[in-house]
């Protein structure tokens, strides 16, 4: 579970901004003056909230600002995580090439975990069905010159959870069991799990 240099580069963000981020990452309240409502909760002004968000955009902490849709609910029923085993000196070039396609929503370099996991480039490809995804992956492979690169498509078969990232603070999610959600406590031991299975 070793962390990388990259993960250490967390921008220095003020405590006040963190409080704001905690609220907005769950989405704006859908009301006429959403920033006024957020300001009220933070004990500040509407202008202050808007300016802080503008600064976070300027600083590059916010990548996109707007309506976040769920692909699956919009008919894009199939999503394949395509993982590629790309030579290290080619990853940047190929990652950028793949990331340009309309049907692609992620293109990340990640570490290999040999011998279990040889893949170092991860891309997410969406389509209305499995055939469409497979066909798009073949097109991408051909256009980016990846035909001979070892890759595999991991189709998602069930979605257990999907929502925006919540960058919760360490202090409210400490290791103490008392902070665990109630349902987690209930299902946290193997014995209880087997009981659950027998019952189902």
């Amino acid at each position: 579970m070793g962390m990388t240099e990259h993960n250490r580069l967390v921008a220095q963000i003020s405590a006040q901004d963190r409080e704001l981020i905690k609220i907005v990452q769950r989405g704006l309240p859908i009301v006429s003056r959403p920033y006024a409502e957020i300001a009220h909760r933070l004990g500040t002004t509407e202008d202050d909230v808007i300016n802080r968000l503008k600064n976070l955009i300027k600083a590059g902490a916010i990548k996109r600002y707007g309506v976040v849709v769920r692909h699956h609910e919009l008919g894009y029923k199939s999503n394949g995580m395509v993982v590629w085993n790309v030579p290290d000196d080619k990853v940047d070039e190929l990652g950028i090439c793949i990331g340009k396609y309309d049907c692609v929503t992620l293109s990340y370099r990640r570490p290999r975990r040999l011998p279990d996991w040889p893949y170092n480039l991860f891309t997410m490809v969406h389509g209305h069905n499995r055939e469409e995804v497979t066909q798009k992956v073949a097109e991408i492979a051909e256009n980016c010159g990846l035909q001979d690169i070892d890759h595999t498509i991991l189709f998602s078969t069930r979605r257990f959870k999907q929502r925006g990232a919540h960058y919760s603070q360490a202090d409210n999610t400490a290791a103490a069991d008392g902070n665990k959600p109630a349902h987690l406590k209930l299902i946290s031991s193997k014995a209880q799990r087997s009981v659950k299975h027998d019952a189902s």
Binding site: V10, R70, R109
Partner: protein, 156 residues
Amino acid sequence: MTDSIKDYTPLEQHLLNDFQRDMSLSATPFADMAEQLGVSEDEVIESIKSLQDSGVISRVGPVFRPNRIGVSTLAAMSVPEQDLECVARIVSAFPEVNHNYEREHKYNLWFVVTASSEEHLDIVLHEIEQHAEYPLMSLPMLEDYYIDLGFELKWA
């Protein structure tokens, strides 16, 4: 259940497609959308609420760049089929987990874990392993090649 984009009203289609990025940061963003679309602010607010209730819109607001305001990683587990649903539920119960999918592979459970610091992330990963009773493989992002412009919906 609505399966196709064609099942949405023209207003809904515009709300879903036209404001995925560069939404105005004015005090009244929904009134701005309404003006652009030639409808009332109330209609925009009601439509967005209803699309959010039905799950088509996840939220409206900022999408944060990975590893700028917190740290995150993609984790994978290899779980026997009979245990999968239960382990998935344990994993999803962590507030630090925001995406959790079953995928067709030996590694069949894939989830994203996000925390405010590297130390916190390490603790959470360790806790997930302990509660789930399976080892996880952590694959933190090293480089992001994707410029997020939203996702253009094909109406056809």
